[in-house]
């Protein structure tokens, strides 16, 4: 298949997946697109929203649309790492001998839903670290590769913080996107009511299998990016580094830590996905700016002043976008 055909197929599949999810999920187009972008970029996703907004349903629907294995882990304070990764159990062999046998945990799936991830203890949360980045787990002294493709789709509730454990920065950085799930509009809510209270049963089909998804991920990485566009992405990331020469004014005022290089990688990958979904063969400045909020909002660490003033990372990112010129040479 030629690149042109691959690109066409990419867009087609993307639209179809979106349409299939749309059969179940009302509204939340941005969230759906963000979710798909994260998957196509090969990253994990953190969905944040108050209960009842359809976060879990979205992931479940996604698992239905994708022909991938799916497992759900409900994070609770007493959840142990072994409950996620698996454990060695003493098993009796047919010949009567007893031996340790590794019992795989729910992590061994293509699509893992970590529901209410912030309710588990940091120890348990950190069990995901290796899986999310290296696509492998180490349990009982043995390293076990996870299935490809592998995605962790986590949800968390911003309210009801009692008894929760905020995710550590290292873990947050491993999420490709953090999407904020907001309330539905009046129209969307009406549609939700229609669908859920009148015996409506949506049937979604499998659109993409694992191999296709991998191919699509490969295609994303081929999208060309002009140097000045990359430069823009770099300058945006550098602008988040407080107390540096490149820092934006707002950064110095409200940030304790800025984005890691992983943030820059993510930003560019997400922009590439965006370009392809827009039917373009190159990444534009607009793609970068469109993807920067979900990419960086969980990677920026606010300082006390920002916390006290109720400044969000989204606000800071918007400010940085205003301060950093798109084309440095043209601006000069």
């Amino acid at each position: 298949m030629s690149t042109q055909e691959q690109i066409t197929a990419f867009r087609d599949k993307f639209d179809r997946v979106k349409a299939e999810i749309g059969k179940v999920i009302v509204g939340h187009d941005t969230i759906v697109e963000g979710t798909l972008t994260a998957l196509l970029g090969g990253g994990n996703l953190l969905l944040e929203g108050v209960p009842g907004l359809g976060k879990t349903l979205l992931v479940r629907t996604l698992s239905d649309v994708l022909e991938l294995s799916f497992s759900r882990i409900q994070f609770t304070p007493d959840l142990m790492p072994a409950d996620i990764l698996g454990t060695n159990l003493v098993m009796e062999t047919p010949d009567g001998r007893r031996e340790f046998q590794f019992q795989r945990g729910p992590i061994f799936a293509h699509l893992v839903l970590a529901d209410e991830i912030n309710r588990a203890t940091p120890k348990t949360q950190s069990a995901l670290l290796e899986a999310m980045q290296e696509r492998q787990v180490t349990a009982g002294g043995a390293v076990r590769k996870l299935a490809e493709p592998f995605f962790v789709l986590a949800t968390q509730n911003p309210i009801d913080q009692e008894g929760t454990y905020p995710l550590p920065e290292a873990q947050l950085d491993r999420f490709f996107f953090k999407l904020l799930v907001g309330y539905p509009t009046a129209g969307d809510l009406m549609e939700v009511l229609n669908r859920t209270t009148e015996g409506y049963k949506a049937q979604v089909g499998k659109i993409i299998d694992g191999a296709t998804l991998m191919e699509m991920q490969g295609l994303v990485r081929q999208v060309p990016v002009a140097t000045h566009v990359k430069d823009y992405a770099v300058r945006l990331i550098l602008a988040t580094h407080p107390k540096s020469e490149t820092a934006a004014a707002v950064t110095n005022q409200y940030l304790r830590f800025g984005s890691s290089p992983r943030g820059a990688q993510t930003l560019l990958l997400a922009a590439k996905v965006k370009a392809l979904t827009q039917g373009r063969f190159n990444v534009s400045f607009d793609d970068i700016t469109a993807m920067i909020h979900p990419t960086l909002r969980h990677r920026l660490i606010l300082n006390f002043e920002a916390e006290a003033e109720g400044i969000t990372t989204d606000h800071i990112i918007s400010q940085i976008l205003k301060e950093v010129p798109r084309d440095a040479a043209m601006a000069a």
Binding site: Q4, Q222, S284, A329, M330
Partner: protein
């Protein structure tokens, strides 16, 4: 950091490759040679569009740069004009800035136009302007990438599709930028400000006026002194040096770099120097005599005794060798006037009265004819009158009588002129001694010349003739001592002549003449110094008063002015400088000459009331009034108006001038007092 220069370098390299090749196929980069013709064509379209955009943007930048420069120029002009309006800035600076301001638009254009616009830059600009989502810039960049064959093609096609729809000229029109509006506003403000009068302090205006005056004064001093030096080159080195320094002073004043006080100081210094030189020269009694002689004669070049004698002879011939007595002529004229009156009355008389009157007039006429014939006059007109009387033609009588009166008038004038010439000849001196004593150098030279000719003629001179010559020379020895070595030379000449050494005598006489010539030249130097002093005096007044208006400088410096002709200048000089300047007893001695010679009395109290005088007083209460020189016109000759009448007329004119505000307020009191005093006397 991303290496942006890498992209730029690649783009430039590729662009150069394309631009250097006339054939596009040859310019096809290696990595694109595998591409099909369509892709190449698309790339060509992109490249052409980008090149056109780059060119257009460069011109547009230049255009905007021009207007930005114009704004800068406008600001410069405005600021310069404000400064000029408020501060005493030289006009040259203002004009300089005006012309310099024009450099800004030109520089603005050149600076902006000189900035190259690369294809990459043009591509990025196009992407930004037309919201092309970086299609063009990415396509241009990947065109240089060997790996992305398929992607390259896709990008080229996509970019070419978008580029094909663009109209570069429409996108980059040459409209007037914002800067043009600001330029216009600045120009309007500047033009408006141009109409506002400049603010200048009183001190500045005064200083400026002083500079103008100094410039004018310097110009005049230098020009007049130079002219005088050219007309009469100085003989003495000291005088030449002093006059050169005067010219230099004039040139220095012309530069108008001195302050008023400095200029006055310099002029005063130079005046002192010239005075010293003049005093030194004036100490010479010979020069004094010459000066006095020139004053008396009133002529620039006195005639020689021969010339004078010839004039006298000619005049005698005209009078038929009969010199009429002017008193006799006056009497005859008086009688003629009476006759004219009688003839006029006679026309109104008739009968016996008329006959009696006719008889009386006939007798008077015949008496007058006799008197006229006795005085050597032509009595033709009187005879005509007699005949007309006999014929009873009263009108003809009147006419003939008038003609006779005119004849008498002419005769009287000739007689008067003859008397003057004879007097002049007498003043010139009858021999060499007298000529020298009276300062008649040309006459003395002529006398010496005659002697020399006699001695050198080769004709044998009689003893009497030689003795006469020797006596004349001996007599002239003493007065000749006033003229350098002239006296000594004359003594030598007398001795040689007596000894029969004609050659030696002639040689000594030639030396005496030479001495006299040198004295003449020194006289010229003195005149030059006097002229220069007068110049400086006027210059001092101009600078001191801050104006040269009404100074009459030009009038006084006509050629021939201050040439020692005995006018007011000479009197002024000897009054103001020679007399007062340490000459004292050593300067002019009282009663050293005859009639017209100088004396203390002459110097101290000039007889001419119109001579320069200094009036001191106060213009404003509390402040000193500078010395003001008041001058009148020196009128020569005898007045025929009675003194009382002239005084009354002058007083009346003065009163009229006072009432008509023609006299400056400061001088009104002085004028009034003067005439009041005058009346009392």
């Amino acid at each position: 950091m991303v290496n942006r220069s890498g992209l730029a370098a690649k783009g430039t390299k590729f662009t150069k490759e394309l631009e250097n090749a006339g054939d596009f196929a040859l310019a096809k980069p290696k990595h694109l040679r595998h591409c099909k013709g369509q892709a190449m064509s698309e790339f060509h379209v992109i490249k052409e569009t980008l090149a056109a955009t780059a060119r257009r943007r460069r011109w547009q930048r230049g255009w905007r740069g021009f207007w930005k420069g114009f704004v800068i120029a406008g600001i410069v002009w405005l600021v310069a004009l404000i400064c000029y309006k408020v501060l005493p800035m030289p006009e040259g600076v203002l004009f300089g800035l005006f012309f310099a301001g024009w450099i800004a638009p030109l520089a603005g254009f050149l600076v902006e136009y000189s900035k190259q616009v690369s294809l990459s830059e043009a591509a990025r600009w196009l992407d930004q302007e037309k919201q092309l989502k970086e299609r063009i810039s990415t396509a241009l960049e990947v065109s240089d990438n060997k790996k992305d064959g398929e992607w390259q093609r896709l990008l080229m096609t996509d970019a070419a599709a978008h580029v094909g729809q663009l109209n570069v000229a429409q996108m980059l029109p040459f409209n007037l930028p914002k800067a043009a509006k600001w330029s216009f506003i600045l120009l309007v403000i500047t033009a408006g400000l141009g109409l506002v009068p400049e603010y200048r302090t009183v001190e500045y205006r005064q200083r400026k006026q002083d500079q103008e005056v100094m410039k004018e004064v310097g110009e005049r001093v230098a020009a007049i002194t130079k002219r005088n030096m050219t007309n009469r080159p100085p003989a003495l080195e000291n005088v030449k040096k002093a006059l050169d320094e005067t010219v230099e002073l004039g040139q220095q004043l012309q530069k108008a770099k001195l302050t008023r006080d400095e200029a006055l100081k310099d002029i005063a210094k130079m005046t002192d120097k010239l005075k010293d030189e003049a005093r030194d020269l004036a100490k010479n009694p010979g020069l004094q005599r010459m000066q006095q002689a020139a004053k008396t004669s009133g002529q620039d070049q006195a005639p020689t005794p021969e010339q004078l004698q010839k004039q006298i002879d000619d005049m005698k011939d005209a009078l038929n060798d009969k010199v009429p007595d002017t008193k006799e002529l006056d009497k005859m004229q008086s009688a003629l006037e009476k006759m004219q009156a009688a003839a006029s009355d006679m026309a109104n008389k008739t009968g016996p009265e008329a006959e009696a009157a006719k008889q009386a007039m006939s007798e008077a006429l015949s008496s007058l004819m006799k008197q006229a014939q006795a005085a050597g006059m032509d009595s033709k007109k009187l005879e005509e009158a007699m005949n007309a009387l006999k014929a009873g033609k009263t009108d003809q009588v009147m006419k003939s009588l008038e003609g006779a009166f005119q004849d008498m008038e002419k005769m009287k004038e000739l007689a008067q002129a003859l008397q003057n010439l004879q007097m002049q000849k007498e003043q010139m001196g009858k021999d060499l001694a007298e000529q020298l004593d009276r300062g008649q150098i040309p006459s003395a030279q002529a006398s010496l010349q005659q002697m020399m000719q006699k001695l050198q003629s080769g004709k044998e001179l009689s003893k009497e003739e030689i003795q006469k010559m020797v006596d004349e020379l001996k007599k002239a020895q003493k007065p000749g001592e006033m003229y350098g070595k002239a006296g000594e030379c004359m003594a030598k000449a007398a001795s040689a002549a007596q000894a029969g050494d004609k050659e030696g005598a002639a040689k000594a006489l030639a030396e005496a003449m030479k001495e006299l010539q040198q004295m003449q030249e020194q006289m010229g130097d003195l005149d030059s110094l006097i002229a220069a002093l007068e110049n400086l005096k006027d210059a001092q007044q101009c600078v001191g008063n801050g104006s040269c208006n009404g100074m009459g400088w030009g009038m006084k410096n006509k050629p021939g002015f201050c040439n020692g002709s005995g006018d007011e200048m000479s009197a002024w000089f000897y009054k103001e400088y020679v007399k007062s300047g340490g000459g004292g007893k050593g300067g002019l001695k009282a009663g050293t000459g005859v009639d017209g010679s100088w004396s203390e009395a002459d110097v101290v109290e000039p007889t001419d009331p119109l001579l320069t005088t200094k009036v001191k007083g106060q213009i404003t209460p509390g402040g000193p009034m500078p010395s003001i020189t008041l001058k009148g016109v020196s009128i020569k000759g005898q007045s025929t108006v009675a003194f009382e009448e002239a005084a009354a007329t002058a007083q009346s004119e003065a009163e009229s001038a006072l009432t008509q505000d023609k006299v400056p307020r400061a001088y009104r009191g002085a004028v009034r007092d003067y005439f009041d005093d005058f009346k009392k006397k």
